[in-house]
Symmetry: C2
Subunit: 299 residues, 2 copies
DNA sequence: ATAATAATTGTCATATAGTGGAATTTTATT
DNA sequence: AATAAAATTCCACTATATGACAATTATTAT
């Protein structure tokens, strides 16, 4: 009938060996708490906040438990979508897209449309039959319009952009990535969002360096690339985020190789690979090694 | 008058360039949303959930913004407490303790009492005058009773235990750390809590290895220490958590040295230090170096 | 087993969350 | 500046969240 939040709360309360009276103490009446826990009433946000404070649990953790120890819907959306993309599972992507389109039509909420477009981008990359038509110009415009309009970028905007940037024009990417960096500044201490920022910056640089098979050609984005390297170095990566530091090292190596400094670049990339091997992160090391081989092949 | 959640929501809505009607669409009436946003009404948890879904924002991010881009109270509590402890700021610790004691008396909620005890533990370590009396036996009992009673350990229990374990008897620590590991199993995919688990395991091993100035003596916890090393290796550390992997390497080195394998141990610790230096994490590298020097001094 | 006590649920009164639509203010257009 | 359109607020009303206290059920102790 109502949201089942109450039942989750009851479960947690029991696990902590706390009585209704003790949990309700100073917040609400015992009888109401009982009613809520039984799923016979909804609860006010204010009361819920205070109840959770009483058991020293924050909303995030509560909702994680409520969703049967799974992350929230939004995170799951990006997770499942990306995993379908990485597995090149066109069917799955199409299914996921339909879900979002359905929601868009049902509720009329535009964000579901954006979600569908994000999936379409992935689809167009994975599916060969798609190459001819590609994603509609107008759809891409719709997305970038939204991103330019939003004044503060949070997790959603960053992830949305992160997934679609591959299909945009480099000049647009440069502008939007700058925007992303600036408009998400206040989230620097919020791990999840900051990871998303870092990820955007990495992807931007990878994108601007260009596909491996063009490593022998000239290219023109030196200035912008160092700008984004600068963002990464000065702000985004604290000492303890070693994995990001390894990626950075690798990326600098790739950049060096792109600009003709083959030896220095190779050395950096090898160093990154060695670091991963030393720490038994073998899968990641293998991936990097493969990437390095690809580059060498095209030089 | 009410919680100010509504005002935060209004701010976010404006930043995203969304109208009342569009946000309320399919969730609640426009007039009510307006009322809520002006702070003239509280809102039901169910409605709030759906509103946030409409703008693709999860609760955690919303509350982070609501708290003026700060983490929630609970996290701040542990953060400020630990920073006062690391800075050996007795006055600050005492102040923080008084806050918790006051809340305990005011609301009668036992968890505030536990919080005060946690701070007292820190106080007793930092403050020399405290050494004579120490933390009351009965208080420590109170805490460990609570921890044994709780069926599922979340962030709070792990952090609480993490801070107090130093004062407990090794046998009790072994039991409680095992408990911690087992009773928090379902949180393995939840970064924040999993970090806390890892931290408990690290601290347990450090504690069991014993203070540096006893490195020449015999010791008896080999079996238990490998048990906890096992936990760390099998479950807690995914490939991309490099910093934990570096800590693990260091700790293994320290363990080797403790059990007489000086050369192997030194080598491992040096390797960890080198890794950090290679990634420009100099402060952390320096700390590790200092720790290694301390050990060497006592051998 | 039974009494005593603690913990939870049910009943009813009331404050307040939430709706529909009219009135007002803000924004955009000419 | 005047007008139209969009966005927001106000007002009267309904549904439901919440409290006080009685009734019931579960625990514990003897």
């Amino acid at each position: 009938m109502f949201t089942e939040y109450g039942k989750t709360l009851r479960m947690i309360r029991k696990q902590k060996g706390i009585t209704l009276e003790r949990l309700a103490d100073g917040v609400c009446s015992v009888s109401f708490l009982s009613k809520f826990e039984r799923g016979e009433s909804d609860i006010t946000l204010g009361l819920m906040t205070r109840l959770l404070e009483n058991i020293m649990m924050n909303f995030d953790e509560f909702l994680y438990i409520h969703h049967d120890y799974q992350p929230d819907k939004l995170e799951q959306f990006f997770k499942t979508t990306q995993s379908a993309y990485l597995n090149r599972d066109v069917d799955q992507l199409r299914k996921l897209k339909d879900v979002q389109l359905k929601k868009w039509k049902q509720y009329g909420v535009e964000t579901y449309h954006y979600n569908a477009l994000l999936i379409e981008v992935y689809e167009s990359i994975v599916d060969k039959d798609y190459i001819d038509k590609g994603v509609q110009e107008s759809d891409i415009r719709l997305l970038s319009d939204y991103l330019f309009r939003v004044e503060v970028w949070g997790y959603y905007e960053l992830m949305l952009y992160n997934g679609t940037l591959l299909l945009l024009h480099p000049d647009l990417v440069i502008m939007l990535s700058r925007t992303a960096y600036e408009k998400s500044a206040r989230f620097r201490d919020y791990a999840k969002v900051n990871d998303a920022i870092t990820s955007v910056l990495f992807n931007t640089i990878v994108f601007l360096i260009g596909p491996v098979n063009r490593f022998h050609e000239e290219f023109t984005y030196q200035k912008e690339i160092s700008e984004f390297f600068g963002y990464l170095e000065t702000v985004a990566i604290p000492e303890s985020n070693l994995i990001e530091r390894v990626y950075l090292l690798q990326l600098k190596g790739a950049y060096d190789m792109r600009t003709g400094k083959i030896e220095v670049g190779t050395e950096k990339m090898n160093q990154a690979i060695e670091l991963l091997k030393d720490l038994n992160s073998t899968k990641m090391a293998n991936n990097m090694e493969q990437f390095l081989m690809q580059i060498k092949q095209f030089l």
